[in-house]
């Protein structure tokens, strides 16, 4: 099936207006941002929303700026802006790593960070990135605004803390000194979804890892937050052996399924290799930041 079922459509003129429309139209209404996840699902009739509320006019949701010790990214910020942002490249190079391998320029020109996170496909790259850098997201609903950490964001496959009547408005990345981050992905061909991907961020002070975040894509029902490997690393001096051990934990703690992208054993092996590599590059970047 290559055409969506019929649906109603309106263009939001404000965030509050979008929320009001969501409340009014009920659970069969959906926000549409870049449309690069939602429209394919509608064409395949995996999603059949009765109404679309288009937020593409809400330019006030499109920004990347530094404020109150955080980098704040508006939900409607496109992939291409994340790819090209110097602010992000300076503080969180993991974004540019990921964005160079997310889809192709056509998709990157339209797809948004908000859509990526709300889609919450387990194979999606930015959810792993945001998990690694310990992002918080701002969700606004009829009852007002709340801030949710990535650790509480994914509630199930394709399900997030963003409720039916909510709009995700902002992603916040706390700035802390001594950070380094990197994203490693293997895909079947350029621009494809990951067979597996690993995002890592480390914060290093006085030769010790003070904090670390690791997120994995495509090897479970949701983005995987590798807490056991993080616990191992925290407080240690970075080393190849340590990162290899974290990789081994990652291989054990992920839960891939066998599919056209590869068998389970291969995916576990890959997660180990990619986690190790991402940590190594993140630590090297942290070291060069420190200097």
């Amino acid at each position: 099936m290559q055409t969506p079922a019929p649906f109603g459509y309106e263009r939001a003129t404000s965030v509050d207006g979008a929320i009001a429309s969501l409340q009014r139209l009920g659970p069969e209404a959906r926000i549409i941002a870049g449309g690069h996840s939602l429209l394919p699902m509608m064409k395949l009739r995996l999603a059949n929303p009765e109404h679309l509320i288009d937020i593409n006019d809400l330019v006030e949701l499109s920004y990347i700026r530094e404020q109150d010790g955080e980098i704040r990214i508006g939900a409607l910020t496109r992939h291409v802006a994340l790819l090209k942002s110097e602010l992000l490249a300076r503080h969180f190079p993991v974004f540019a790593d990921a964005e160079t391998v997310i889809a192709d320029p056509v998709v990157r020109n339209r797809g948004t960070i908000g859509g990526s996170l709300c889609q919450a496909d387990a194979a999606e790259d930015l959810s792993a990135v945001c998990t690694a850098v310990k992002a918080k997201v701002v969700i606004r609903g009829a009852a007002g605004e709340r801030v949710v950490g990535m650790e509480d964001f994914h509630v199930g496959p394709y399900q997030t803390a963003v409720g039916a009547g909510d709009v995700l408005t902002e992603v916040r990345l706390p700035l802390r000194p001594g950070s380094g981050s990197a994203h490693e992905k293997v895909e079947r061909r350029a621009g494809d979804w990951a067979i597996a991907a690993a995002s890592a961020a480390v914060w290093i002070a006085a030769g010790r890892i003070t904090d670390v975040g690791i997120g994995l894509s495509a090897v479970g029902l949701t983005t995987i937050h590798l807490t056991r490997a993080e616990d191992l690393l925290r407080g240690q001096a970075p080393s190849e052996d340590l990162f290899a051990e974290a990789g081994a934990i990652a291989a054990a703690d992920c839960s891939p399924g066998a599919d056209g992208r590869g068998p389970i054993d291969y995916k576990r092996h890959l997660v180990g290799v990619l986690t190790h590599r991402a940590l190594r590059r993140a630590a090297a970047r942290a070291a060069s930041q420190e200097a």
């Binding site: 192709d104 061909r189 350029a190 494809d192 590869g262 291969y266």
Partner: protein, 748 residues
């Protein structure tokens, strides 16, 4: 003089002696050093702007007044019996105009019906609906709700082989005594290789729009052979061919899978005949990937014997083919022809499985065969300690040993040298040294042989009007290869006109100027000589008229750059000085491809070198470069030719790395019949490709000296990549494509 002559014609290695009409045009082939103004100079594609701007009208774009839309109901199972279809429910849906089922009495004849009550593969058509809208047609297909009793099936080669499920007889061709030669050989290698099923995946799916008018059947068809399509429609519907018109303005890729009229045109014509309305039948992507055709998977065993210094003494090639084309076997042909060897055997078995039967796919069978043979030759080079290219040079075959005939031309040795030079082959071992980025690198090579000489019948016409513009008509459609551009160049060359004063039309059978199917790499060597002949006929007539106008001897006159000049320089007048006097009249000429030279075989040859980088941690293989040298005789348009090579290499690379039809063995159903899961490479996967062509026109073969190029470049790529992988890792994977999991297994 017009004559009927008997000549041997060839299409994809199938030889046939037939009568053809030829008109002797008195032309001799352009010599290698001939100074040509257009031919041999890079020229942008004639239809480029239309294609990129969306102005080009492909079959899928055709919309006629009152047109109905057809949808196909396909088998969800590999094998079963349809016990019921809810035809009344489908017919009850608003807008439905016709429902065809296996029980329908059709207006055309076909050996095995187009619709199946016992589907023999997943995706086999069970029924078709025509309706006012595509949505209604699809809804009616769902309403048909087939009841299907599942039946047993076999979808893997191994089981089919064990069960001896042969399709037709075993095919064996041999010379000498291969077993004795193997037993006596100083060096022996044996290699078992599996190759994947590959789908053509044209961007434009199979498509047809048919309009059954009172006096004529008009069909727009996405086909590579509009005249074959016309013949098929005429024969099946029992119509005179003159009352069938096929229009194929643009084709969005064929790659061999769009021969004849096909299911789509036959069904669309039948639906139009029934409803009196034009009917459009375009496969959806899922239908295309299930039922558009494929290159069948193979399992091959190659055994080689040689002397210690690498002279081949025995070649034994065995191939099991997963339900290939009926009656078509050429997997082991390269084993019989590529190298000089007295004791040779090729055995092929086509296995019958509950899978979509294979059809032509760019160098069908030969590519599969080269993929195995050239890996075995690589092993022999390792075994004998010889440079793989040196081993190939030593075993060069200067004639076709199967037919025992010389070649019209053969520059394979030049190709080896040129590819080696471009790739930096002599230093290839330095890539195996430890690399700073931790990747394993290596280089590999492979050779290629294919037919591609073309032949008659093939016709063209040329008409020069009062404005001094020449209009050429050819009997072929441009399937994306740049055929019409090449025809324009050849005509401009012969007429001494600038390119922009020659127009070329193809893609319509109505002018009744016949051209061959675009297959077997025969288009250029068949069509271009006919174009040259037609243009030459016009040139001669023009110069005769110029003789009248300028009171000169026609033999003293030449054409160049849109002008008519005397050899002594005394006369220099524009074309229009003559053509303006034509009024509404025109100068007309026709041309045709002459017969092939007796006692020769015409083949193309080539060599490609690949460099790969293997990530031993992830198993990723990246092709870092391909250097390709091909012998295709004269290159008409170097720009078009290098595009052909690049496209072939990409498809060949995909065969080695990512493309594979995957069948679920428990259900017998392909699991990746979508473009999301069937991995065609993208631009970002494309490696740097360097292309060179042997500088020797094939002057024996035809009057332009060209051989074909559609198929040759896809043939050696996968083997070159597999050999580069071997060089990089010291290991050989038993099966292609080199998926990451397979790579890690191979190098573990």
């Amino acid at each position: 003089m017009t004559r009927l002559v008997k000549t041997v014609t060839e299409m994809e290695g199938r030889f046939e002696e037939k009568w053809v009409l030829v008109e002797d045009d008195g032309l001799v082939s352009w010599e290698a050093e001939a100074a040509l103004r257009h031919v041999g100079h890079p020229t942008p594609r004639l239809t480029g702007p239309q294609r990129v701007s969306g102005a080009a009208r492909y079959t899928v774009d055709v919309a006629l007044p009152g047109m109905l839309h057809a949808a196909v109901l396909r088998s969800p199972v590999a094998h079963g019996r349809v016990t019921a279809l809810q035809v009344a429910a489908a017919e009850a849906i608003a807008g439905v105009r016709a429902v065809l089922t296996p029980a329908s009495e059709l207006g055309f004849q076909q050996r095995s019906g187009p619709l199946h009550d016992e589907p023999l593969y997943a995706g086999a058509p069970l029924a078709v609906v025509a309706a006012d809208t595509l949505a209604a047609a699809r809804e009616a297909c769902r309403a048909l709700a087939p009841s299907i009793e599942p039946l047993p099936f076999t979808v893997d080669i191994e089981t089919a082989w064990q069960e001896q499920r042969f399709d037709g007889d075993l095919h064996e061709e041999a010379r000498g005594d291969v077993e004795a030669a193997l037993a006596a050989a100083a060096v022996r290698v044996e290699l078992v290789v599996s190759t994947p099923g590959q789908l053509q995946t044209p961007i434009e799916p199979h498509a047809a729009v048919a309009w059954w008018k009172p006096d004529e059947l008009v069909c727009f068809i996405a086909t590579q052979g509009m005249f074959d399509a016309r013949a098929e429609l005429a024969k099946r519907f029992d119509l005179p061919p003159e009352r069938v018109r096929v229009i194929t303005e643009y084709v969005g890729g064929g790659f061999g899978g769009k021969q004849n009229a096909g299911f789509e045109a036959l069904i669309a014509a039948e639906l139009s005949r029934r409803t009196g309305r034009p009917v459009r039948l375009v496969l959806d992507r899922h239908g295309e990937q299930l039922d558009g055709g494929c290159r069948p998977a193979t399992r091959q065993t190659v055994r080689l014997g040689a002397t210690a210094d690498g002279m081949l003494t025995a070649i034994d090639a065995e191939a099991l083919v997963e339900f290939g084309m009926s009656g078509w076997r050429a997997v082991t042909t390269p084993a019989l022809t590529l190298y000089r060897c007295a004791d040779v055997r090729g055995i092929e078995a086509n296995l019958r499985l509950e899978l979509r039967r294979g059809n032509a796919f760019r160098a069908p069978a030969v590519m599969e065969g080269i993929t195995a043979l050239e890996q075995a030759i690589d092993e022999l080079a390792i075994e004998t300690g010889l440079d793989p290219l040196e081993l190939r040079r030593r075993n060069f075959a200067d004639r076709d040993q199967s037919a025992d005939l010389p070649y019209t031309s053969n520059s394979l040795l030049w190709c080896y040298d040129r590819a080696a030079e471009l790739a930096g082959w002599p230093d290839r071992d330095r890539w195996r040294e430890p690399q700073a980025d931790g990747l394993l690198r290596g280089m590999g090579c492979a050779a290629q042989i294919w037919w591609g000489g073309g032949g008659p019948p093939s016709h063209a016409s040329c008409r020069l009007g009062g404005d001094g513009v020449a209009q050429v008509v050819v009997g072929v459609q441009d399937i994306g290869t740049g055929t019409l551009t090449a025809a324009r160049m050849v005509a401009a060359e012969e007429l001494g006109l600038p390119l922009d004063r020659v127009t070329v039309r193809g893609g319509d059978t109505a002018p009744a100027i016949y051209g061959p199917v675009a297959g077997g790499s025969q288009t250029t060597p068949s069509v271009m000589p006919a174009v040259r002949g037609a243009a030459a006929a016009v040139r001669r007539k023009l110069l005769a008229l110029a003789g009248d106008v300028f009171e000169a001897e026609p033999d003293d006159l030449v054409v160049d750059d849109g002008r008519i000049r005397s050899r002594d320089g005394g006369l220099d007048e524009p074309y229009t000085a003559v053509t303006a006097k034509l009024g509404q009249a025109s100068i007309d000429g026709s041309g045709n491809r002459g017969p092939n030279p007796d006692g020769y075989r015409a083949n193309t040859f080539g060599c490609q070198i690949a460099r790969v980088a293997v990530d031993p941690g992830t198993g990723s293989v990246r092709v870092e470069g391909i250097w390709a040298a091909h012998d295709i005789g004269r290159v008409i348009n170097p720009l078009g030719a290098s595009s052909q090579v690049e496209g072939g290499i990409l498809q060949g690379m995909a065969y080695a790395l990512s493309e594979q039809r995957v069948i679920d063995r428990t259900t017998g159903v392909p699991v990746n019949a979508t473009m999301d899961d069937y991995k065609v490479p993208t631009m970002m996967d494309t490696p740097p490709i360097v292309v060179a062509f042997a500088p020797l026109p094939d002057t024996l073969l035809n009057t332009v000296g060209a051989k074909g190029l559609g198929e040759p470049p896809i043939i050696p790529t996968a083997a070159a990549i597999a050999n580069a992988f071997r060089h990089a890792t010291g290991r050989r994977a038993a099966a292609l494509p080199l998926t990451r999991a397979r790579v890690l297994e191979a190098i573990a």
